[in-house]
Every structure is written in structure tokens, then in C-alpha cells.
């Protein structure tokens, strides 16, 4: 019996009423305008922006009100306006880890001049498990994933 079960990637597809260039520009260039504020990893200060440097190996980070920066990852592939591949390097302990890497691929497809489909895939999720096994204590700590566990508990008991 196969003892290794890899979780499937998280996949999302949406359609926006915008041409492909604009769809790409808003996604990559104005991330701070749409990124959920509740998902800041900087606990010391309020998140004021999320920045994706528009180039290969560009940094992906959030900026706090006090000027501090918290890194999320970096750009693995930069192919405007059709594709961007990001390294998500926030581990299960909810901290940046240069040695941890999961991929988020975002593909933009023009359905017509004013409509664009976006397909997002967050993969290599099994690596969260490897990381979690390494740092079980951090995983159980206050903050970070406590929110998930609460949501999860509600889901599981529903």
C-alpha cells in the first residue's frame, strides 16, 4: 500500500472584465490594493503594502506602517502578460524561510479584448507537512495557524 499521499494543489480560476495587460498589471503591480489585510505576517505593525518586484528573482514582500519589510518569497518566472511564477516561502510556522519553497503559478489567458481568465495554482503543498514535522512546536504555537485551526474545527464539526 502506498503510504505517501500528496495533497493536490490548490487551484482557482476566475474571469475578470479587463484586457490581459491590465489584468496582469493589477495582479502584479498593485498587490497591496487587493491583498487580504488579514493575512499579514508582520505582527508588529499594520500592513500598508504588498510588493512584487517586476522581474525574475524580484522580491515579494509586505511593507508595514513602520517601514519594516517582511519577505514572502520571490519571482521564479516573469512572463508578462501571460504568466508569473512565485515562490511562496512562508512555512507552516507562518514565518519566512529561505530554505522552504512552494510554487504559486498564475496564468493569464485573454478570452477576448476585454475579458481575461486567471488560473492560479499553489503547489508542492506536501512540503508544508515536511516542514511541520520538523517544527511541531512552532506549529502548535500561539498565533500563526491558530486561526486556521479554529476555522477548521468549525468546519469539521459542522
Amino acid at each position: 500500500m502506498n503510504l505517501h499521499i500528496s495533497p493536490a494543489p490548490v487551484r482557482k480560476s476566475i474571469v475578470v472584465k479587463a484586457g490581459i495587460d491590465k489584468a496582469f498589471a493589477v495582479f502584479t503591480g498593485r498587490m497591496g490594493r487587493w491583498w487580504p489585510k488579514s493575512h499579514s505576517i508582520n505582527r508588529a505593525t499594520e500592513q500598508i503594502d504588498v510588493v512584487l518586484e517586476p522581474q525574475l528573482r524580484g522580491r515579494w514582500y509586505e511593507r508595514g506602517a513602520d517601514g519594516s519589510e517582511c519577505q514572502w518569497g520571490h519571482v521564479l518566472a516573469w512572463e508578462p502578460p501571460s504568466r508569473v511564477l512565485l515562490a511562496w516561502q512562508i512555512g507552516a510556522d507562518w514565518k519566512f524561510d529561505a530554505d522552504f519553497l512552494t510554487e504559486v503559478e498564475i496564468r493569464f489567458t485573454a478570452e477576448n479584448a476585454r475579458t481575461t481568465r486567471i488560473d492560479l495554482e499553489h503547489r508542492n503543498l506536501e512540503r508544508f507537512g515536511e516542514k511541520a514535522a520538523e517544527s511541531r512546536a512552532a506549529f502548535d504555537s500561539e498565533g500563526g495557524w491558530m486561526g486556521i485551526l479554529k476555522v477548521y474545527a468549525e468546519t469539521a464539526t459542522a
Binding site: 503510504l3 499521499i5 475578470v16 472584465k17 507537512g129 502548535d140 495557524w145 486556521i148 468546519t155
Partner: protein
């Protein structure tokens, strides 16, 4: 919630996992209604446990299984919700900027 279980390719194992998602259960009860033997159910549970998807504890002479809230399943649920929320925000921003003539 079907998306969550797409990782579980074996249909029987998926069925077991889905039952546990509805609440903790002992092995015996899980085995009821499944077209496989109780030892086979235990084997599937061992695989799920090894993958960090379920956890177990003893209650008297019974072994109770449940979804591991600290496992990958929980992380995946969180990420799924996160990206849904993020993309909703993105769509709203695209629409806001469409109204903006500048």
C-alpha cells in the same frame, strides 16, 4: 468540500477520510458499510495517519480516529480559503480601476 479530497486517489481511502471529516469514529464503526474487511480499513487508516491527515487516540479498548487539525488537510483548507479571498479582492480591484477614468 470535494476539492479537499482530490489528493486521496484511492476511492476507499477517500471514503474513510470523508467519514472522518464529519466526526471522530472508532475503527469498527468506520468499517461498517464499507465493502472491505476491518484489517483493510485499519491499513487505510495507517496510510492516512502516515500522511498526517488523521490522528488517533485510545478510548477504553477502542481506537478513535479523527482528522488531524494540525495536518496538511488543515493547511490546504486554509490556503484554499486564502486564495479565494485574495482573488475576490483582486477582482474587486480590477473592477474599481475600470470605473476610474484615469
Amino acid at each position: 468540500m470535494t476539492y479537499l479530497f482530490s489528493a486521496l486517489a484511492d476511492p476507499t481511502r477517500r471514503q474513510i477520510f470523508e467519514r472522518l471529516a464529519k466526526g471522530a469514529q472508532p475503527v469498527g464503526k468506520l468499517a461498517q458499510g464499507l465493502p472491505i474487511s476491518r484489517p483493510a480499513v485499519s491499513q487505510h487508516l495507517a496510510a492516512l495517519k502516515a500522511a498526517g491527515l488523521v490522528t488517533d487516540h485510545a478510548e477504553g479498548t477502542r481506537r478513535i480516529y479523527r482528522i488531524d487539525p494540525k495536518g496538511l488537510a488543515a493547511i490546504r483548507i486554509w490556503l484554499d480559503q486564502f486564495w479565494t479571498e485574495a482573488l475576490d479582492g483582486y477582482v474587486a480591484e480590477v473592477e474599481r480601476s475600470s470605473e476610474d477614468p484615469s
